[in-house]
Symmetry: C2
Subunit: 401 residues, 2 copies
């Protein structure tokens, strides 16, 4: 039997995961030579994918390519029920038709990263509908209240006195039971899903199965650089958004985030991203240029190469240049790597470094039309237009030291 | 429509309950004139009844007599499942046949107090078997983890770090759902069941029913005078025990407990029991005599009047007199109400009052063959044999002051 390249290449398959519980289990399981059952649970209530979702799908693709059996488990069972307490707006009650429509949308977006021909799809109602109360009692007897309350989300809510309805304990248990149903060898998820994945491992052991390997990917931080990318926070780049919109959003991230996005959204290698981070912080590259390259390759993945380059052109034409006045600008030379606050003072755009930092914090300072995020950032452009507000512009040139 | 006497006699029906949630609800419900659905949940795992169980059955009888609809709900559903974690030995898994056998035993004992012709019986598997997972999720969504952990038993275990398996939360919820299923107007139980009864009230409200009145009876303290009467503690009088055995056990309770047993086990009125307590503590009656009367009436209820009086005779003949020596005893006169410790000193059976109290605390002192429990008790018998150990005996006579 021939295998696809990478079938038992542990390093390749586990590249880029945040936690793997456990690598030794995984190594041993691969040695058996049989294709592994790799599970990803999908919530059919949120069909509009953003870049954050694609991280785990890109990992799944490696398992599929390598010849393992990848299964999407669609959580239709709980989606059909929704949140009967009515307190949780993120758990609406969905009809089977709505679930199917959502999954079609999901598939169309996911296939930009994942070869869907290699994926099998199961709906968890297939086995959860069949459980009766006696089965459920057996299921629930295998875990304790303290175990559930250890989950970060629950323990915070319990401590703060926020209500946790009893049925909320059922959702992770149902997800864990999915692992038993499909005899998962490996479950993938975001790092915020680690508890649920480990519960699956626990349940498989309780039900006499070999416990699954739990592999989690890092969470992609949103455009704000602070919180997990999520629709409700508005700090996301949607897969279905227009190329120009995606590009513009990606250009708004802090320079320091560019290597992270290169890794998790453009799927560059860790080595490439480490090099990029060193070059940006060392000032040997213009972060604006690197950011455009990363943004272009992300847009190209979801809309094609032509759309990627067109989005870049559009950005440069309309956003970067539109505010530049047509008159000649005063010019200043500064040593390469000078702090931007210092540059503002030298160019007479701020009275002091502290005043300059306040302007930057207030989003009033731009370089070539792009807002400067970091009050302590350094000047790295060879030559660019520095502006404060909509009326003060100078041209700055970096001198090599 | 004619009603049995007492149909809407609130005072009569609620006489002797420890908590009633709420009396106003109850009063209003009775005004409707329709027979109320009165529910008692029965655990079919413990068929051998003791006096502690009969307290609530005696209350149920009043509702039945008064023409209300009394229903026993037999918790066969959970009994059939048992405790799947295997950790709780008090929840064995029972077959339907075992459950039926247990219930026959239960009925035979219960009918000493309750007119079973007036009772209807339902098995809760009738509705719990029909719940699917979606129903259950809805059910569980109506209560919170914090609510469950408020229950005394759970909160103590949670605080002490003892494991609470998730399915244990289901049992009170299932019991609460029983109230919805039979549309209970009133649920009766022991005071340790108050949480479960109130959960039924809560659930009925959530499901749009008028919430049941929760009425709890006091727990009968065991023969040790300290803990709730229970088989596992061995401090019980079983309904099926032989008359002599029941009588002997009842004679071992402390004098101060006699009024409590008169109330909760012999079903005497509160007024009678208050008078009895005053007479015992005031020394105007011999507690031994009163205790024999109470014990006889309890035995008579479960074995008939002849057996009650025969058990008393047997006790007097074999227990009380057997240790009395046939020789003439030294006789002492003491003022009525003298402390027994003082009597022991006067009769030369102890060297000091403190030594006398130690003898009493060590269960070494008997009056007419019955161990004296209270080191500070008073002499109230007209004439009786006082003994220390198995060899020192005197006869003591009380002088009227």
């Amino acid at each position: 039997m021939t295998r696809d390249a990478g079938f038992d290449d542990v390093e390749y398959l586990l590249d880029g995961f945040e936690t793997v519980e456990t690598v030794n289990d995984f190594r041993e399981r691969l040695r058996s030579g049989r294709p592994l059952n790799v599970k990803l649970g999908i919530d059919p209530t949120s069909p509009d994918l953003h870049l954050g979702f694609m991280v785990v799908l890109s990992k799944l693709q490696r398992f599929a390519e390598a010849g393992h059996r990848v299964t999407w488990i669609i959580g239709d069972f709980t989606a059909r029920i929704g949140d009967p307490s009515g307190k949780n707006a993120t758990r609406p009650q969905l009809t089977p038709e709505a679930i199917d429509a959502n999954m079609n949308t999901y598939r169309r977006q996911a296939e930009k990263v994942l070869d869907l021909e290699r994926i099998s799809v199961r709906y968890n109602s297939e086995w959860l509908d069949r459980l009766d109360l006696a089965d459920l009692i057996k299921l629930l007897s295998k875990t304790t209240v303290a175990q559930m309350l250890e989950r970060n989300d629950f323990s915070n809510r319990y401590r703060s006195g926020a209500a946790i309805s009893l049925h909320e304990f059922l959702y992770p248990v149902a997800q864990a039971y999915d692992s038993i149903a499909v005899e998962a060898d490996v479950e993938l998820g975001g790092s915020d899903q680690l508890f649920n994945l480990l519960l699956g491992r626990h349940y498989q052991r309780e039900y006499g199965q070999q416990p699954q390997i739990c592999a989690t990917v890092p969470l992609l931080v949103g455009l704000d650089g602070e919180k997990k990318m999520s629709k409700s926070l508005g700090n996301y780049v949607g897969i279905d958004e227009a190329p120009e919109q995606q590009f513009g959003k990606l250009m708004s991230i802090a320079d320091s985030l560019v290597p992270t996005y290169a890794r998790l959204a453009a799927f560059r290698s860790q080595a490439d991203c480490d090099r990029m981070a060193a070059e940006i912080s060392g000032g040997s590259v213009n972060p604006m240029v690197v950011k455009k390259d990363v943004a272009e390759s992300i847009v190209a993945r979801y809309h094609g190469a032509a759309a990627g380059s067109a989005a870049r052109d559009h950005f440069e034409r309309t956003v970067q240049r539109k505010e530049l006045p047509q008159t000649d600008l005063a010019e200043y030379d500064v040593p390469h790597g000078t702090r931007i606050g210092e540059v503002l003072v030298r160019a007479g755009l701020a009275e002091s470094k502290r005043a300059a930092e306040r302007l930057i914090s207030g989003n009033g300072v731009k370089i070539d039309g792009i807002v400067v995020n970091d009050p302590r950032g350094a000047w790295t452009a060879e030559t660019a237009v520095l502006s404060v507000g909509s009326r003060k512009f100078v041209r700055v040139r970096a001198q090599k030291e």
